[in-house]
């Protein structure tokens, strides 16, 4: 133990407390004084404990204290004392005059009489009460009175005659009560006792002030040492929502790979969401139960050339394709809905690119945004979710390049190992499903689909087929995995406590 260092690290309240302590435990109640209240003593004791200078003991105690009547009688007199005084004055009292002479009520008078008789201090002679004691006996305090005056007391500290008095008093209503309390006592350790012997009121600087700086008041003085390991109260900073942090990160990955961001409305038409993506008009995904259609709002369709091209794709006849062999209706294309995927942004981008193929191809685009699905919410289903999506438009794009981009993208997302398998999407061919290997959980995570846009998708926009690689992994699973969220409902719960505690997105 370096006594000097310890003394320098004592805070003012510790320095005040140490002289009051000893090797024996002293209760905080006893230690408390005008200068040091109980809370401060407890805090100081905690500091001393950390320095191994003091120990605290918790004692469960039963305390005997005055009841409501007890307080009253201690101020005035016990009924038996009141009667004894009255009798001492008058020597003799008729039973019926007791109340008048003492001011006691019925019950008190009865108790007073009974008690004095038991103590053999009075006699009854022909209906009169007669004193049967000498003056010195009369002036001597009863054991009950002495006991009441000594309260509060610890039950365990009572002498046998005091215990007897307590039993008598307990029979009388509201004179005394026994309370269960917890008492904290502090004592010095061996080190503490040694420190106590030292001079504690060394001149240490507690807080550097502007005045000290000005007057050089800090020179040749020491600063009180802090306990640097002590805990501190929590604070919380402002921050971006964790989902948005993750979104920004994913965007930076796309940007690093040379992709241009697409953005667009959350409400779009059946035309862009489904028809332009060669989704048959009677395909189950277009049914109301899966999709958020808007009531009574109809969209305008794009220019006729595009609409005609899409119609032809569906009905059959684009580049030898059989299409869906059924009539295509504008009505379904004009329905408006909250987008169920971000791929509608891609098909809109294709239309824009198609306006000047020579200038615009090759191109790489990405989107990342909110999508919607009409679904009952539970831990694994949300009606709003994030999707990210990329397309590469290039005359020479091919399937192996698609695998190349996917490998690169997921590597940057933190997944070194990916696995692909065949899949089906209406608008891509070949289509595939991507699983990534979770490096911690050691299992495969399904992250979404990819493929090459079908000629039925590209030709209406480009006028001819140019290969387009496309992939649209779900993004919320990655976010949930990183932030260890197991219930999707917590993603947009906006629980302020959760947001304050949530770590920052930091993925390399």
């Amino acid at each position: 133990m370096d006594i000097k260092v310890i003394i320098e690290s004592l805070s003012p309240i510790e320095r005040k407390l140490i002289p009051l302590l000893s090797g024996e435990p002293v209760s905080v109640d006893e230690l408390a004084n005008e200068d040091l209240d109980k809370t401060t003593i407890l805090r100081a004791a905690e500091f001393l404990k950390k320095k191994d200078l003091a120990e605290t003991e918790e004692k469960e105690e039963e305390i005997v204290d005055l009841g409501i009547l007890g307080v009253h009688y201690r101020k005035n007199h016990l009924p038996e004392r009141a009667l004894l005084i009255a009798l001492h004055d008058k020597k003799e009292l008729a039973i019926k005059d007791i109340k008048k002479a003492t001011g006691l009520n019925d019950n008190e008078a009865k108790v007073a009489l009974g008690t004095l008789k038991k103590k053999a201090l009075v006699d009854l002679k022909q209906g009169n009460l007669v004193l049967n004691a000498k003056s010195d006996e009369v002036s001597k305090k009863f054991v009950e009175e002495l006991f009441l005056e000594s309260l509060p007391r610890e039950l365990s500290s009572l002498a046998p005659e005091e215990k007897f008095a307590l039993e008598n008093l307990k029979k009388r209503k509201d004179l005394v009560e026994v309370l269960q309390t917890k008492e904290i006592a502090v004592k010095l350790t061996k080190n503490g006792l040694e420190i106590q012997k030292e001079k504690l009121d060394v001149d240490l600087i507690e807080q550097l002030t502007p005045q000290m700086l000005k007057s050089n008041g800090f020179k040749n003085k020491k600063f009180r040492r802090y306990d640097l390991t002590a805990g501190v109260p929590r604070i919380y900073g402002g921050k971006r929502h964790f989902v948005n942090q993750a979104v920004d990160h994913a965007k930076s990955i796309w940007l690093e790979m040379g992709f241009k961001e697409m953005s667009g409305d959350l409400v779009d038409s059946g035309f862009w969401v489904f028809d332009s993506l060669f989704t048959a008009q009677d395909h189950p995904v277009r049914e109301m139960q899966d999709t958020f259609y808007l009531k009574d709002i109809k969209a305008k369709l794009p220019e006729k050339k595009i609409v005609e091209g899409v119609k032809k794709s569906h009905e059959g006849g684009v580049d030898g394709s059989k299409g869906w062999s059924q009539e295509w209706k504008e009505e379904d294309a004009k329905k408006t809905l909250l987008r169920p995927h971000t791929t509608c942004l891609s098909s809109r981008a294709l239309m824009e690119i198609g306006k000047n193929l020579k200038e615009n191809v090759p191109a790489k685009y990405f989107a990342l945004g909110r999508c919607f699905r009409n679904e009952t919410v539970d831990w694994s289903h949300g009606f709003e979710f994030n999707q990210t999506e990329g397309i590469v438009i290039d005359e020479n794009a091919n399937f192996r390049q698609l695998l190349g981009y996917l490998t690169q993208f997921f590597k940057k997302m933190g997944y070194d190992k990916i696995r692909i398998r065949p899949a089906y999407f209406a608008y891509t061919e070949p289509s595939l499903e991507i699983d990534v290997f979770h490096p911690v959980h050691k299992k495969w995570l399904e992250l979404g689909g990819a493929g090459m846009f079908r000629p039925e998708v590209t030709i209406p926009m480009f006028g001819r087929h140019i290969p387009v690689l496309a992939w649209g992994p779900g993004f919320d699973r990655i976010i949930m995995d990183y932030f260890k969220i197991t219930d999707l409902r917590n993603m947009y719960k906006n629980d302020i406590n959760q947001l304050r505690e949530m770590k920052f997105w930091r993925k390399d």
Binding site: G238, K322, R370, V392, R421, A423, E429, Y492, N494
Partner: protein
Amino acid sequence: MTILSMNRKALEKAIGKVDEAMEKSITDMGTPIEYVNDEEVAVEVFPNRPDLLSLQNFARAVNQYRGKGKLANFNVKSSGEKLIVDKSLPKEWPYAIACIIKGVKFDDERIKEVIDIQEKLGMGILRKRKKGGIGLYPLEKIEFPIKFVGKKPEDIKFKPLEFPRVINGRQILGQHPTGRDYAHICQDWDVFPIFVDNAGTIMSMPPIINSHDVGKIDETTKDIFLEATGTNLHALKKAFNIIAISLAAMGGQIYSIDCKQQDGKVISAPDLSGEKMDFKVEDINKMLGVDFSEKKVKEYLSRMGIGVESTGDDPKGPKCKAIVPAYRTDILHWVDLAEEVAIAHGYDNFEPILPEISTIAEEDPKSKSKKVISNVLAGLGLLEVNSFHINTKKDVKKIHYGLTDFIELEDSKTGRDVLRVDLLTNMMQILYENSDASYPHKIFEVGRVFSKDTSQEAGVIENEKLSVVLSDEKVNFTDLKQILDYLFKMLEVEYEIKDGSHVGFIDGRCGEVVVNGKSIGYIGEVNPRVLKNWKIKMPAVALEIDLEGLI
């Protein structure tokens, strides 16, 4: 998601032991394994492959894929029987085709299998029977020729499957469980379609239900009359072909029937000859980024059950014709053949490459500016929140009590029925839900709100908004104006605040935020009426401004 579960023993008899290698083959073929246990093997079948929806068909595909099966070749004999499709039919249900299949060995398991595939085709390719329906009958109970005719529902009287008595066509829609399930398809038609045999017996009322007397197959059934009817002949034929070959795979011999359609054309059903499709090997190679020989491509396609004919040498490289089996519904274009080749090669066996093309990355300028605004506010110690774009009318009305012109959602399953009109509503909800978190609450959100606008393509205009809300025991206008003031300074935006009036704020403590002479939103102390509506126990100040001009 369609799951095909198969008896493991029966499957292993057809394809061999289901071990790890077999499981990999099955997955690589494009039918991911759902589960394997001692009794069953279950796989997911994608909607483009209804032809895999029975054990026999699945087994044929697996064997072909593993190079152990031949291309399917179906021997169809002629039955000489006729089906007449009558002009009295409802215009909504004009087509019918039929055939006979003899010598099927039925047992309990197989009957279940047939019903299962019939049901799955009805749900999938026939779109919950909206495009068509399929029916099977014991051949011995009916007499040719058979007519498909339209009749008034009240005049159609027969005992439907598993029903105790004879009822009419209209009653079937109301009383029979299957009738109730599919009533929506035909309830508005003037006449309902029925099959009637030569003896005048009503065999069924498509697409709803068969007759209990002549339209029920059981273990004693050997020979079957199979029909498909509906609105889309293309889909019908595909579904019909698939179920016909499934029955053939159970040991049946297919006999065609001449089906005379309303326009007089005779369709000899089923037509199981493959469809021809032109393709070039070089196109497939370019698409996949490989250099497969014609022989290789041929071998791969045959492993997917597709035959190939060469059409002779072309100066630009070999041009081929694929023979696509009649049961495949998903080969629409040569790109579909390319996928077949890729699957046969094995997705795992493609080596990823990155192309050498140069493109310039670019972030959406709006999303960049939004990020800046959020960062400024986070720097002031505010917490960004992220809330849903859809609300309930009831919650919106807690601020906008007079609002009626909502953008409503159809049949929302979420309990939320309108697009949000502001961010403030969600901010109030967040305050309400976080009364147990220690104060002050300092939150903001950047997000879109919606309003009707017929000039927009989708009839809705979406505006990017910013809302900031502070709530604490002592919080006032100045606290929030300081934040707005700092934000605009950082963005170099000149603004002024004019006296404003907004239902959400206290009169006299509500300012209109004006930038370039245009009002962009409000800032003020939240009206206690609103706080009470939300059961919020602390005062709050809030602002909501349009970012469209600022980002």
